[in-house]
């Protein structure tokens, strides 16, 4: 692969091209989208978590003004399930169809969908639906309340971890837990479904991270050819993973639209959004470390248990990053899952690994204390210079630089490691650190680029911008290669009519999408070069490839002609290029990961048991940042989310009946502005050209990993309490009186 030698636009701080649309309300979010003659759906949630729906009383609801119909088990079309295959591109989050039977598997499961002329009418009628249940015994309220160790679903081993642990002079064996967390994305899940052509053509607006997965799944469920299903998602008010794959509200809404012959829109109220569209499952992890007196790791064992639902088998693979984290000959990970009576969990920003990194990076800190070593020095001592899991060199790894640079900016050298030693008035300062890591992946992607007669460029790709800035980096890429200003590049994303693009997830969008956009751009330029060098062209007789591209013009022999002039001369509306790219064989030769380091300062006021994060200094190594403004924004947002994970967030299920009781944005706490510390984020700029021509690895998730561990480690430094259960709340910190 050849590097782009000069980066005029790529790599430059670029304001979001969709910023004005978002600011002015023109941005077409699903929740805002309206169609004429549209009806509104409002689901009715089950109020128990485990049992049978015995009967529904609908008379009062049906009699409410504006109510058109109420769909429920026994009054719902026969549909097919999706095969739920990632490989075939029809994965869904919950396989069970809505209203499929009368079983209740979790609190909030839909028992009916009220459809009415207005949202308020649908909601009011939904409150009037009365249900009678038979509650089954044996409700499983969460893994914390269960002795069940679940079912093993994955493992990894190298060397002799048990043996090495048995003979290591210094050992550590601790258990870490993390509460279930909600994505609490700003835009709730929403579906607007419309049928055309005598019910043979389904058009769905959905707030989704993957229009193609949803299209394919809907085609399976409604038994239609995929080309007869369209999914549109122009703007997404974030997802953090819970909009990767379709949830039942979309199926119910599409079915209602066909059943009633009118478009139907369902916007989930926050409570139902939190109950029915996934969460990071609670986890319990045991870490065993064995080390020599000099700090060399002899053994790492990482056993994870995560929750799933009773209807699906979701695996939150906590040990994913562990085998490649440190130079250690003997490593084992085990992953188990336990079905509980909650809604089905799903990926949430850095799924699995963020939980695993909390446990591992906490344990490393504990080991450092046991060894009386500086935790930064312990990490460097066990630095994995190549990938110990695959025995391959890293494509580009600068974790050492992250650690050193962040330590320097933070002032780690002046930290007094003695517990509670750094006082400031009523407060004690605690300082802790942790490493961050997230895999770097790439998916196949296609794109189309048209150089238009007016000199502007149109770029299209069926991936999505979930708020991270994909529109902007696509425009930057086209601008980079054509020399046309960013403002003259129109980008369209989020439609299944466009060339197939990847899921917006796994921090893979940038690395997957830009090469395809670049290929399409080059293809369009080649088409234009052909036109220009053809008969009657401005450069008639020259070799097409000999023409240079400069600021929206073709140049050769001291002459430059604008794209628009060339197209006009040939009476062309435009020339179009196609590009389709996929990962190559680079993975045979290298391992690809992103890295980072977080240094955290907490302030602990023991007199009032108040703990706050005061300062975070991070260095992140993700290759090249295509748009440093948006990239920094991703890391800063992730750090704030990490503060939530560390100190605030947890879904509360009633220990008696597994009812979710804090399903709202007030009682489920995420950090507010006043919780946000001073943030100092550095993006190292080491382009990873072994990964793709742009040198970019993706930045959505890396910033979250390690934050909670760095906080917990800082809390230990301040308080002397080693807290292994997230979130760390005042209960565990207040001194009993």
């Amino acid at each position: 692969m050849t590097a782009i030698p000069e980066h005029h636009v790529v790599g430059r701080r670029t304001p979001r091209v969709d910023g004005e649309d978002k600011l002015t309300g023109r941005a077409d979010y699903t929740v805002d989208h309206r169609l004429e003659d549209m009806l509104y759906g409002y689901p009715v949630p089950a109020s128990i978590a485990h049992g049978t729906l015995e009967s529904l009383t609908l008379d009062a609801a049906r009699a409410m003004p504006g109510v058109v119909d109420i769909l429920h088990h026994g009054h719902f079309p026969d549909l097919h399930r999706s095969p739920n295959s990632l490989r075939q591109g029809d994965a869904v989050s919950e396989v069970r169809l809505p209203f499929e039977d009368d079983r209740i598997h979790y609190h909030g499961q839909y028992i009916a969908l009220v459809v009415a002329e207005t949202f308020e009418q649908a909601r009011a009628a939904a409150f009037r639906v009365k249900a009678r249940y038979h509650r089954d015994a044996g409700v499983v309220t969460g893994l914390a309340a269960s002795d069940d160790t679940g079912e093993e679903v994955g493992h990894y081993m190298r060397g002799e971890p048990e043996l090495a642990f048995g003979i290591a002079p210094v050992i550590l064996d601790e258990t870490y837990t993390i509460a279930a967390e909600s994505h609490l994305q700003l835009e709730p899940h929403a579906t607007l479904a419309e049928w055309r052509d005598a019910d043979q053509h389904l058009i769905v607006h959905e707030s989704t991270q993957g229009v193609f997965y949803q299209r394919n799944a809907l085609a399976r469920i409604f038994d239609l050819p995929p080309e007869r299903v369209e999914v549109i998602s122009h703007y997404i008010g974030s997802g953090f993973g819970n909009k990767l794959f379709m949830w039942p509200h979309a199926v119910a809404t599409a079915a209602a639209a066909r059943w009633l012959g009118r478009p139907v829109k369902t916007v989930l109220p926050r409570q139902q959004d939190m109950m029915t569209t996934g969460h990071r499952p609670a986890s319990r992890q045991r870490i065993r470390l064995g080390a020599e007196f000099d700090g060399s790791l002899a053994s790492i064992q990482h056993d994870s248990l995560t929750e799933t639902s009773t209807v699906d088998r979701y695996v939150d693979a906590c040990g994913g990053a562990t085998p490649s984290a440190y130079a250690c000959d003997s490593v084992a990970t085990h992953q188990r899952i336990l079905p509980v009576h909650h809604g089905t969990p799903c990926p949430m920003r850095a799924p699995g690994e963020v939980s695993g990194v909390f446990a591992l990076e906490s344990a490393i800190d504990e080991l450092a204390v046991a060894l009386d070593m500086d935790p930064l020095a312990l990490r460097l001592k066990n630095y994995a210079h190549q990938d110990p899991q695959r025995g391959l060199p890293w494509s580009s790894k600068h974790l050492d630089r992250c650690l050193e640079s962040a330590a320097e900016r933070f002032g780690w050298a002046s930290r007094d490691p003695r517990i509670g030693s750094m006082g400031d008035g009523d407060e004690i300062i605690g300082q802790g650190m942790a490493s961050a890591t997230w895999f770097a992946g790439r998916q196949p992607c296609a794109a189309r680029v048209t150089l238009r007669a007016d000199g502007s460029v149109f770029a299209a790709c069926g991936t999505q911008d979930i708020g991270t800035g994909t529109y902007t980096i696509v425009a930057q890429t086209v601008a980079e290669l054509t020399g046309v200003p960013v403002g003259r590049v129109e980008v369209r994303l989020g439609e299944t009519r466009l060339p197939a693009g990847p899921l917006s997830g796994g921090s893979m969008t940038t690395a997957s999408t830009l090469p395809a956009v670049a290929a399409a751009t080059r293809d369009a330029l080649a088409a234009l070069q052909e036109v220009a060098t053809g008969p009657g062209g401005d450069f008639d007789g020259l070799y097409p490839a000999s023409l240079g591209v400069e600021a929206g013009a073709l140049v050769a022999e001291g002459r430059r002609v604008n794209f628009a002039e060339i197209l006009a001369r040939h009476r062309l509306s435009g020339v179009t290029g196609e590009g389709s790219t996929a990962p190559g064989d680079e993975r045979q030769a290298y391992s690809f990961r992103s890295f980072g380091a977080h240094f955290v300062e907490v302030r602990w006021d023991p007199g009032i048991s108040r703990l706050r994060v005061a300062r975070v200094v991070s260095s992140i190594d993700v290759g090249r940042a295509i748009n440093p403004v948006a990239a920094r924004n991703q890391v800063e947002g992730a750090i704030v989310m990490g503060i939530g994970m560390g100190l605030l967030e947890g879904l509360d299920y009633d220990p008696r009946d597994a009812r979710l009781i804090n399903a709202n944005a007030s009682d489920y706490r995420i950090p507010v502005h006043a919780d946000m510390p001073e943030l100092d984020v550095e993006l190292l700029d080491y382009p990873d050209y072994r990964f793709n021509e742009f040198g970019a690895r993706g930045i959505g998730e890396i910033g979250l990993t390690g934050v909670a561990a760095a906080i917990a480690n800082a809390v230990y430094h301040a308080t002397g309490k080693r807290l292994r259960d997230l979130p760390i709340t005042v209960e565990t910190l207040v001194s009993p009186d």
Binding site: S47, G607, D652, I661, S666, D667, P671, V730, V734, P736
Partner: protein, 332 residues
């Protein structure tokens, strides 16, 4: 759609009249509690009377120097009112510790007194709640009750009164002016909110009446005041425990002390015994801790909130300490 009659009142008398004796009628001012709970189907008013046009939005100084606050004065306006800042800094601090700027801009003085609990079982129409549905039981008693009361609860209800402003009012002392079908009457703030006992659905002492004003007791002189609110996150968050303290100091001896608690009790919680214990004592940690012990002597934890007792103790000691410091500064 659930419909209700809606009327805009142009006078206090007409507002009261508009209720037509209907117990399911509700006044709406800022709407920060009512609208939320209507959307959740927890409050189901049959008639809503908009009182925002009533002339109750001023703070005036009475001839006896007390401050009389109109019921429609917003929380924001009250917190930043120069007379309030000068005479009753505790009230300003407490208000600004609550909710968010957006909510404080809408919420009113009378509405703050009337706000409903944040108990999640109260706010979930499918749960058992004696406050919402008399006789249905209390799911909080043995459920997730981390946020619930350790003082003033009963076997029927342990819901916390969520207000910060009312904690300051409890400490300062205030008289409420109520207007009802039989005209105006005054009651003490301390008598306004009721303990749940066996009737948790009766939350206050209104009888088809509208709160028209809150008149604050005269301030202590010289005054030190501190509101300490301990909570999970730094803003937009209800208290786990809060303490409002006021002290007057004569040299190092406490003249008069006031203390009230929030986040731990079923109503704004004045600690009279603790206050009495402080009078005439040296303003030091030992006195503050002894007062805290007295204030919490009757505290009874539930399954998930034992931590609130030591936490409230810390809030009290810190609030008294800071109040004393400010009294010294004021004196200096």
């Amino acid at each position: 759609m659930r419909t209700f009659a809606f009327a805009r009142a142009d006078s206090v008398a007409r507002a009261v009249e508009s209720q037509q004796g209907d117990p399911a009628s509700a006044f709406v001012a800022g709407g920060t509690t009512l609208l939320d709970l209507v959307k959740l189907d927890v409050m189901r008013p049959s008639r809503v009377i908009d009182i925002n046009a009533l002339p109750l939005n001023t703070v005036e100084r009475l001839p006896d120097d007390r401050l009389r606050i109109g019921a429609l004065v917003t929380n924001t306006d009250l917190a930043y009112h120069p007379d309030v800042l000068a005479d009753h800094p505790l009230l300003s601090q407490a208000i600004l510790a609550g909710a968010s700027s957006q909510v404080r801009n809408m919420a009113t003085t009378g509405g703050n007194l009337m706000q409903r609990t944040r108990c999640p079982y109260f706010r979930d129409a499918a749960a058992a709640c004696n406050k919402r549905e008399p006789g249905s039981g209390c799911d909080a008693l043995h459920g997730v009750n981390r946020m619930h009361a350790v003082l003033g609860g009963s076997s029927e209800c342990v819901a916390v009164h969520p207000s910060d402003m009312c904690v300051a009012l409890a400490a300062i002392g205030a008289t409420l002016t109520l207007h009802g079908p039989r005209g105006e009457r005054e009651i003490e703030f301390a008598d306004f909110h009721r303990l749940p006992g066996t009737t948790p659905y009766l939350e206050h002492d209104l009888d088809n009446e509208l709160i028209v004003a809150v008149t604050l007791a005269p301030p202590l002189v010289p005054l030190g005041a501190a509101y300490v609110k301990l909570r999970d996150r730094a803003a937009y968050e209800f208290a786990l425990a809060s303490a409002g303290a006021m002290l007057s100091l004569d040299e190092e001896l406490i003249g008069e002390a006031r203390l009230a608690l929030g986040g731990v009790a079923t109503k704004p919680w004045r600690c009279r015994e603790a206050e009495a214990s402080l009078a005439g004592k040296r303003a030091d940690t030992a006195a503050f801790e002894a007062a805290a012990d007295l204030a919490l002597a009757d505290a009874r934890p539930l399954s998930h909130n034992a931590f609130k007792i030591p936490l409230a103790r810390q809030a009290i000691v810190r609030a008294l300490r800071d109040a004393a410091r400010r009294a010294r500064e004021d004196d200096a």
